[in-house]
């Protein structure tokens, strides 16, 4: 079917259903979003009919709790400050929710270290300080790249390329540093995991760095490196893992799909005209969301056919956030029924829902 829709003020005849999603009421936030990779955290709390959002602004995390009926919003701000030290200016690189079987935590990474909070941001349960030199060095020091990993781990990347593996008990603050993985030589940009335990996965963590190198791991008391997929001198800013497939977004605007364990390249998409800032996957439907500095959010559909070991990528939908460099985009649910977007200098979370 052919649909005619208006994008960027022009008329375009398109085979895709361009009204797949429509814009909903935005959520106002207290500060504007900073230009940081993956700058939107989303946690859906079904029993309480709430969704939490996090957006980073310089040294502050804006947290919003939004009720599903759209009637109640509450706001909270978390500052980046290590406890008991009265210094200022520690810029936050990322804030992300980590959903583990026993509990959900909010992890905040900055130039000074790693903070872990209860998911509502009410209490800080853990603080890990980075080795920051007395006088600044040429190589910046910060933590970036956050992922919960089956079954009780939280992994966080560091600018040196190291990956810190934290062991998280089912409750309480007795979180410990279990391992330091030193495989990457460049700053970690992002990481992602899959396998909530219901399926047996060979690989359940992928980590990415500033040179585009990807490492594939299996979690355990000692994490096992399963594969290293070399980059091509271009930063991989956002990465996802789904059904054994790595989906990676790069500074060139390309998206690549690799088979995690073998490194076989399945697909290559010239997806965006500028640096990709965020990728997300809705695991139940196979929808992929990509967002970049080029003002565009795109929705794709991934199909895996294990029998033929092949992958299909179909483009479904474009959203243009006019005059905005997008820095965060995430589905709000596992089916991809709704998604949310943040942009540099924008003081709102824009929401889209399937029509």
């Amino acid at each position: 079917s052919v649909a005619i829709c208006s994008e960027n003020g022009g008329l375009v005849a398109s085979k895709e259903d361009c009204s797949m999603y429509h814009k909903e009421k935005s959520i106002q936030i207290k500060n504007s979003a900073s230009a940081l990779y993956n700058n939107l955290g989303v946690l859906r709390i079904a029993p309480r009919r709430l969704t939490y959002f996090t957006v980073v602004h310089a040294n502050v995390v804006n947290m919003i709790s939004a009720s599903w009926d759209g009637l109640n919003y509450s706001h909270r701000q978390l500052q980046s400050k290590e406890p008991n030290v009265a210094t200022s200016t520690s810029l936050i690189m990322q804030a992300a929710f980590c959903a583990l079987p026993s509990r959900d935590l909010l992890v905040v990474t900055s130039q000074k270290g790693i903070q872990m909070y209860e998911s509502d941001g009410s209490i800080m349960v853990y603080w890990h300080a980075l080795d920051t030199p007395e006088t600044p060095t040429e190589q910046a020091v910060f933590a970036r790249g956050i992922s919960a990993v089956w079954e009780n781990y939280i992994c966080v990347g560091v600018s040196s390329g190291a990956i810190l593996v934290f062991d998280v008990p089912s409750k309480g603050s007795n979180i410990t540093l279990s391992e330091v993985l030193e495989e990457h030589k460049e700053s970690i940009t992002d990481m992602a995991s899959e396998c909530s335990g219901s399926q047996e996965c060979i690989a359940n963590l992928v980590t990415a760095d500033d040179e585009g190198n990807l490492c594939v791991w299996k979690s355990g008391e000692e994490f096992q490196l399963l594969n290293k997929i070399p980059g091509f001198d271009m930063s991989c800013s956002s990465v996802k893992l789904w059904k054994g497939t790595v989906v990676a977004g790069y500074g060139t605007g390309q998206i690549r799909l690799y088979e995690a364990v073998t490194g076989i390249l399945h697909a290559e998409v010239n997806a965006h005209a500028r640096w990709i800032y965020s990728l997300d996957i809705a695991p139940f439907s196979g929808l992929l969301l990509s967002a970049a500095e080029d003002s565009l959010v795109r929705v794709w559909h991934l199909t895996m056919t294990p029998e033929t070991n092949s992958v299909e990528v179909a483009h479904l939908h474009n959203e243009c956030v006019t005059d905005t460099q997008i820095c965060g985009a995430k589905f709000c649910d596992g089916d991809g029924y709704a998604f949310a977007v943040t942009g540099y200098d924008l003081s709102e979370i824009i929401r889209y829902v399937q029509s």
Binding site: L36, T189, A273, L296, E312, D345
Partner: protein
């Protein structure tokens, strides 16, 4: 974040400042034979204009200053950087009132914010910097001593920045964007050229050339396990892009290709800013470095050291004869000062250089005493206290 951001910020803002001052000086230019006083703004003859430009450029590229600048360090706060530029703007016989200095700084920062945002690749910020450097070199092409300082700076830029990866440049860009966060001052020349909207936000086109190294979006390629391409399909990219242009030159000489960072002002295109209407954005205008800033003293020490070794010219003519106005009339300038929204005030440690020239020279002398101090130590903070107190007292 990135500890290599300050040199780029300083050089590009400095470059914009020179474009604006050059334009204003030319606009206020009166041919030597017709020299007369126009209200309180004296005639700027060609010689004086060249002298001002040379003095500022000499100060900008002072060897010791640059040595400090290129050291790995966190970005200055907006306040601290503004103070550096206040000093720089007054490193010559030229004088600016508070309102004109505010406007100058607004224009400089919005121009560089625009350039950073519009750079197709983060690495292109270096090309923008080279465009500024090329123009600066042209300003001083008749003065070999300053020219060699400028050439030396090219070499330092090349040495420091050309080996950096794309990811490191993006970190620099992200650091700069935090510095420029929430700044939406409307600039007349940007509004006229339709690169800025009436709400102060820049137009980001979804058309034009893609960055060097990027393909035009639209192609999906599927591969077999052996690496052969199985299928290719096109999708609608929702924009109107064309292939990348050739890459600009990262050497001392060369075609930079990008126009970002070149001089957009001319005598016939005056610079104005609109202050009204920006207060609508005040709810979102949050200062990143909120008071009280415990680092203020630290920064001031470094600042003092940086500017300490530099002489402040004592103008032969001590009345406001060498004043430059960034507004069309004196009345407009006064009005701008009164009506400037609070949230846009830089709250700067204000050096009122238009006042007592004597006090100014004194301050410079005192600042000069700090140049010999070695590395900063906690003990230095008391000097910072004195300096702050002195400045407040001016």
């Amino acid at each position: 974040m990135s500890s290599r951001t300050l040199p780029l910020l300083f050089i590009n803002l400095g470059g914009e400042m020179l474009y604006i001052l050059d334009q204003r000086l030319r606009a206020q230019n009166i041919p030597a034979d017709k020299a007369k006083k126009v209200s309180t703004i004296a005639a700027w003859i060609e010689e004086d204009r060249k002298r001002v430009m040379n003095d500022i450029i000499t100060t900008m590229f002072n060897k010791k200053f640059l040595e400090e600048l290129f050291k790995p360090q966190e970005l200055y706060s907006k306040k601290a950087l503004r103070t550096v530029f206040d000093r720089l703007a007054h490193a010559s016989i030229m004088r600016l009132n508070q309102a004109s200095m505010d406007k100058l700084y607004d224009l400089m920062t919005m121009a560089f914010k625009y350039q950073v945002l519009l750079c197709p690749r983060p690495k292109d910020i270096l090309l923008v910097s080279f465009n500024h450097m090329d123009a600066i070199k042209d300003f001083v092409k008749d003065t070999p001593s300053i020219l060699s300082q400028v050439d030396e700076t090219y070499r330092q830029l090349i040495e420091m920045y050309t080996p950096l990866s794309s990811g490191e440049f993006q970190l620099i860009r992200q650091t700069l964007l935090i510095f420029f966060q929430d700044m939406h001052i409307r600039v007349s020349i940007f509004l006229k050229d339709k690169v800025q909207n009436s709400n102060g936000r820049f137009v980001l086109p979804t058309s034009g050339s893609v960055p060097h190294g990027t393909q035009v979006p639209g192609l999906i390629r599927i591969f077999s396990c052996t690496g052969e391409e199985l299928t290719r399909q096109q999708f609608n990219n929702g924009g109107n892009y064309n292939a990348a242009l050739r890459e600009g030159s990262f050497e001392i000489f060369g075609d930079r290709v990008t126009k970002l960072g070149t001089n957009m002002y001319s005598v016939s295109r005056p610079v104005e800013t609109h202050m009204s209407g920006t207060s609508k954005n005040s709810a979102q205008h949050t200062k990143v470095s909120a008071a009280p800033n415990p680092l203020a003293k630290e920064e001031l020490n470094l600042l003092a050291r940086l500017m300490g070794g530099l002489e402040v010219e004592k103008p032969g003519n001590t009345d406001s004869g060498f004043r430059v106005n960034l507004f069309a009339t004196d009345e407009e300038e006064e009005e701008a000062l009164i009506s400037r929204p609070d949230e846009l005030s830089y709250g700067v440690i204000n050096i009122q250089a238009t006042k007592d020239q004597q006090a100014n020279a004194e301050l410079a002398k005192i600042m000069g005493e700090f140049t010999e101090s070695g590395d900063q130590s906690p003990g230095a903070s008391s000097k910072g206290d004195d300096l702050l107190a002195m400045m407040d007292g001016l």
